[in-house]
């Protein structure tokens, strides 16, 4: 047997894991500390709210299929008083809940069964945004995509790309949430205004043109990926 792992330092980010399935918690318990995270576990929504308020975790991993309160409700209540990033864990077939949770304020989601790599990537993104939120970087870079938020210019593979105002606003919003999923609703609300929350075809058309302007192969995008049924994500890795 390998020697026991050293415990992560007290300054390591604290992750609150809310899941009623012991197997999932065991798996997270075995891996997350090794990645340098501290862990707190609980099994019900009510417990989660208590722990969140008393322990002030840096990130909450919230299962949607809780026995008492459903995950969407927990998210809503959390968002009433805290901006702590929340990643919801959903199973197949819970698409509606997933979207609702995201609209209610969750930052991202993972579909079970998921791999460690995915989980860690999304956790990193969520934590980074928490750190960086108050302090926006003027220039965003991801591979050959460069977006200068201050100057409002976009460069891809060295060439400048000309975007319309709406297209730019779309891109900017995705950049601001780089790595995280942004729901259709969020996009429509922010770019077109609160009354356009159900005009999804607008989104399709504009995202389509945006993709074609930026991506090399629009059908296999490198950055502007589609999360089917949920929204869009600007991939950064």
């Amino acid at each position: 047997m390998a020697p026991p792992e050293p415990a992560p330092p007290a300054t390591a980010p604290l992750i609150l894991v809310v899941d009623d399935e012991a197997a999932v918690r065991r798996f997270l318990r075995a891996t997350l500390p090794h990645q340098g995270y501290r862990l707190v576990e609980c099994e019900t929504g009510a417990q989660a709210l208590v722990e969140a308020s008393t322990r002030s975790p840096d990130l909450i991993l919230l299962d949607l299929g809780l026995p008492d309160l459903d995950g969407v409700e927990v998210t809503r209540r959390l968002r009433e008083w805290t901006a702590t990033p929340v990643i919801v864990l959903s199973a197949r077939g819970q698409e509606n809940d997933k979207i609702e949770a995201l609209d209610a304020g969750a930052d991202d989601y993972l579909t079970k069964p998921f791999g460690m790599g995915e989980l860690l990537a999304r956790m990193r993104v969520a934590l980074r945004h928490r750190d960086v939120d108050g302090d926006e970087e003027p220039v965003f870079e991801a591979g050959e995509l460069k977006v200068d938020l201050g100057a409002r210019r976009v460069h891809v593979r060295g060439t400048e790309v000309h975007l319309t105002r709406t297209e730019y606003r779309l891109l900017a919003l995705l950049v601001r949430h780089a790595g995280k999923v942004v729901t259709h609703r969020q996009l429509l609300k922010e770019v077109w205004g609160p009354g356009s929350a159900d005009q999804t075809h607008y989104l399709r058309v504009y995202m389509g043109t945006l993709r074609h302007k930026i991506e090399e192969d629009a059908a296999r995008p490198r950055w502007l990926t589609t999360e089917i049924g949920v929204g869009y994500r600007l991939k950064v890795d």
Partner: protein, 901 residues
């Protein structure tokens, strides 16, 4: 021991088995049979009953007549009695056997004295023997008593012997079908002795007749009759036994008897005699009446008498028929020849015949003359009542118009003749009048034509015969002319009337046949039983010209009307009770029958192969009752047709359900076996790898990695399998809700490639999605799943060196997506089969075989289509068509470029 060479006749065996089966549920009938009242039948029955009771059987007394005899009454002691039912009739209260009480009590054996008794009015059945039948059907055994003179077929014989006509009769078949017949005998001398001692019951009114009845000669004759009957019964039993055990027997040459009856009281006697003849010959027999234009139309009374005769014939076991033809003789003989009749039975013609009949040979002579090889029996006997009066003259107002027309025609003839008179011979003028008379005869009938004849002669005489303008006739030849004209006119009019009648009769027959044909045509089309019932009811209504209704049982076995019930039916609850009775007992009842005749409707059972399927209720027009045997035969045929059609519809329904059920079971079985096998494979790989990792400490890093990789791969595979299963379940259960949105195919393709691209591994993947492809209204999650399944399919069935191409293009009001590869392609001829659930090209391959079935379900839920085809030189192509219905609202575009916002 039956010889090996002789095996029992299968039909007979089947009959025996059926009879035995019926017997097991049917009660057993034992008849205590005697030659005359007073021999001690009731006494014998009670003695036997007491013995049964002592043996421990349940015996209940339904009805026993002690007639005040103490010794008989003593035997009743200890036997439980069923309380009688009180019937109020015309102010008096009568006691009657309580049939419903007996049915409710359901004893295993019931004693029912005097089988020939007529029930009081208001009882369910007219006769006690019908009560006995119902009891037997319900499973109760019945013991009863019967005298020989109560047998239907012997009724007239007995009347002849004793000069006492017994009115209460029992059909012979009851005795024939009885399970046991015990002959209770008392030698005549002893019987007379008992009579003298006052031990024989004779009602007050019959004293005088009884004196004539109880003479030694009579009693001896009756005893012989009764003994013979009992012997016949034993003989029949013996024959059945021998037949069942295949003991060879010489059968007589097939005989058939045809009896011709007329609507006069002779017919009853004729029928009974024929019945005895047929029984002796063991031949089937037919009772027929003949309608011919030569005979006058029947009055209602004659029709009734004929109907009663037919009913008697049927009771005695004959087939009935109504024949038609030019003459009685011709009709009888042609029927006889067509049906292989070997003997014809006729009644002797009445002594006094109408003068008209003397002109032609009597039907008897015609038949005898032309009978050839057929034997003719002529039965004689006195008629008890005078022949019925001639057909009632149709009373009513005589229409004067035809006569006026006749006169007008004569006037016209005269006018025609007037200019011809100088030129033509008088004989030709007569022809003109003759023409006129013939015309009147054909158009207006007998009497107007007679008038026309008279007027013609008068006119001819007046205008054209010297001395002109007088009525004097100088030449006697004109008397001849007159006579001939009159005769011609009568002949022609008679002929015309007959032709019209025949045409009418033919029309009637045609109408009836058409109704039957129309019904059978409608019933042949596959329909639900309720629709069939409604159609049938309509046809019956047309036939009987009164309301009609078919009742079928619902799931709870309660009769329900299959259409709007006629008023008379719906308003009276008792009608429903009668219908119910018919349904449970399988016998007709209601108006015009012997059972519950007070009902407003006639109810006929619809006989199915195993049980009564329903009830046909009808209310014929008042004038049509009582129904002629022809009509009741037709109604029965209708009922059978309806029953057959309804039974077929019900069986089809059951078969369909059984098919669906079987299919469901098959799929369930396949699924279960598939699931258990296919889930276990990855699971065993995972367990094996994980346990190795745990147990074996000596594993090298590379091996460890390998095992871990295995675990991950197998777990992902398991996930895919389970997802497929879940998808299929949701799609099948119909709970799938399509959430359509206007989506871009490009995005869905991208997402599908992102999810399923890994599986394709090292294969080349070409993607072609045009930028201007229109948006499609789809459920994006399902379409993404569709594409992922197709990609997985390509990954499974192509080598690693294959190329996979995914292309989308716009088509007419649709978007077409194609996923193709250049691998080995589909097995030939399987382009359709691949989409079936659980289809796998090689059994035991990876996965459940649900992937393509799910694809098809998804595509079809979107109103689209998916098809597989082969690619040249090798490969498979899947073509998906997603229809575009409507268009998204237009999107305002801004300028293509802009400067800083």
């Amino acid at each position: 021991m039956p010889s090996d060479l002789q095996r029992p006749d299968p039909d007979a065996l089947l009959q025996r088995v059926q009879a035995e089966r019926a017997q097991r549920t049917r009660g057993r009938l034992k008849v205590f049979f005697g030659a005359s009242p007073g021999v001690g039948k009731t006494y014998a029955m009670l003695e036997a009953a007491q013995r049964r009771r002592a043996a421990g059987d349940e015996v209940v007394v339904g009805w026993v007549e002690t007639h005040g005899r103490a010794e008989t009454a003593d035997l009743l002691e200890g036997l439980p009695r069923l309380p009688p039912r009180t019937v109020h009739y015309r102010g008096t209260a009568l006691d009657e056997f309580d049939l419903d009480g007996a049915l409710a009590r359901r004893p295993s054996l019931l004693l029912l004295d005097e089988l020939a008794h007529t029930n009081a009015p208001g009882s369910r059945h007219a006769k006690r023997w019908q009560d006995a039948q119902e009891l037997l059907d319900a499973g109760t055994s019945v013991w009863t008593t019967l005298n020989v003179q109560h047998l239907e077929s012997l009724n007239d014989l007995v009347a002849q012997i004793t000069e006492v006509t017994v009115r209460e009769t029992v059909p012979d078949r009851l005795l024939e079908e009885a399970d046991e017949v015990e002959f209770v005998d008392l030698p005549p001398d002893e019987l007379l002795q008992r009579l003298r001692e006052g031990k024989v019951y004779v009602p007050e009114q019959a004293q005088r007749a009884a004196h004539g009845f109880f003479r030694k000669g009579n009693i001896t004759a009756l005893r012989e009759l009764a003994l013979r009957r009992t012997a016949d019964h034993v003989d029949a039993d013996m024959r059945d036994y021998r037949r069942a055990h295949a003991i060879a027997e010489t059968w007589p040459v097939a005989e058939r008897v045809l009896v011709c009856i007329r609507p006069n009281p002779d017919s009853g006697r004729l029928i009974r005699a024929a019945s005895r003849l047929a029984t002796r010959l063991r031949a089937p027999w037919i009772v027929a009446s003949v309608e011919s234009p030569a005979q006058p139309a029947l009055s209602p009374r004659e029709r009734e008498s004929l109907a009663a005769a037919f009913k008697l014939a049927e009771q005695l076991g004959a087939i009935t028929a109504v024949l038609s033809g030019e003459s009685v003789g011709e009709a009888l003989l042609s029927y006889a020849r067509a049906h292989n009749v070997s003997k014809i039975v006729l009644g002797k013609p009445p002594a006094r015949r109408r003068w008209r009949d003397r002109l032609r040979p009597s039907p008897l002579e015609a038949v005898v003359g032309a009978s050839g090889e057929i034997d003719v029996y002529v039965i004689s006997g006195e008629t008890a009542e005078p022949a019925p009066a001639a057909a009632v003259r149709r009373a009513g107002v005589v229409d004067p118009r035809p006569f006026a027309w006749a006169a007008a025609v004569v006037v016209a003839c005269t006018l025609v003749c007037w200019p011809l008179f100088p030129r033509f011979d008088r004989s030709n003028l007569v022809m003109v009048y003759l023409l006129g008379v013939s015309f009147v005869a054909t158009r207006f009938g007998r009497w107007p034509s007679a008038l026309a004849a008279a007027l013609s002669v008068a006119a001819f005489d007046f205008f054209f015969v010297p001395p002109h303008l007088t009525f004097a006739v100088t030449d006697t030849q004109y008397v001849v002319t007159f006579t001939i004209m009159l005769v011609v006119s009568l002949l022609i009019s008679g002929l015309a009337v007959r032709v019209k009648d025949q045409a009418e009769a033919a029309r009637q027959r045609e109408r009836r046949t058409e109704i039957l044909y129309a019904l059978s045509r409608e019933l042949a089309a596959p329909r639900r039983p309720e629709d069939l019932a409604r159609l049938a009811a309509r046809q019956v209504e047309e036939l009987v010209q009164g309301p009609s209704l078919v009742l079928l049982p619902d799931d709870a076995d309660q009769l329900q009307a299959t259409g709007p019930p006629p008023e008379a039916f719906a308003t009276d609850v008792r009608e429903g009770a009668v219908a119910d009775w018919v349904f449970r007992n399988g016998r007709p009842a209601g108006k015009g029958t012997d059972t519950l005749p007070a009902a407003a409707f006639l109810y006929l059972p619809l006989p199915g192969a195993q049980a009564t399927l329903g009830v046909l209720a009808l209310q014929p027009r008042a004038e049509m009752l009582p129904l002629t045997p022809d009509q009741s035969g037709l109604l029965e045929a209708l009922a059978r047709q309806i029953a057959a059609a309804v039974e077929r519809a019900l069986l089809e329904r059951a078969a369909g359900e059984a098919r669906v059920q079987a299919e469901r079971e098959r799929l369930r079985g396949t699924l279960l076996s598939s699931v258990s096998h296919d889930l276990r494979t990855p699971l065993s790989a995972i367990t094996g790898a994980a346990s190795s990792l745990l147990d074996d400490e000596t594993l090298g890093a590379a091996s460890r990695l390998e095992l871990l990789r295995t675990i991950l791969d197998e777990a992902l595979r398991l996930n895919r399998l389970v997802s497929n299963l879940l998808d299929m379940t949701r799609l099948e259960s119909g709970s799938l809700q399509l959430k359509r949105e206007w989506y871009s195919m490009e995005e869905i393709v991208g997402a599908a490639l992102a999810r399923g691209g890994d599986r394709l591994g090292p294969r080349r993947v070409l993607v072609e999605v045009p930028e201007d492809l229109p948006l499609v209204p789809v459920d994006p999650i399902l379409i993404e799943q569709l594409l992922v399944n197709l990609l997985e399919n390509a990954a499974k069935y192509t080598p690693a060196t294959a190329t996979v191409r995914l292309a989308a293009r716009a088509a007419a009001s649709a978007v077409e997506v194609v996923v193709e590869d250049d691998g080995p392609g589909l097995p030939s001829g399987q382009e359709e089969k691949v989409f079936e659930k659980f289809y796998r090209p090689t059994p035991g391959g990876e996965g459940f075989g649900l992937g393509l079935a799910i694809c098809r379900a998804i595509v079809e839920a979107h109103g689209g289509a998916i098809a597989a085809e082969a690619v040249q030189p090798h490969g498979a192509r899947f073509r998906v068509r997603l229809p575009i219905v409507g268009a998204p609202p237009p999107v305002e575009r801004e300028g293509t470029t802009d400067g800083p916002a």
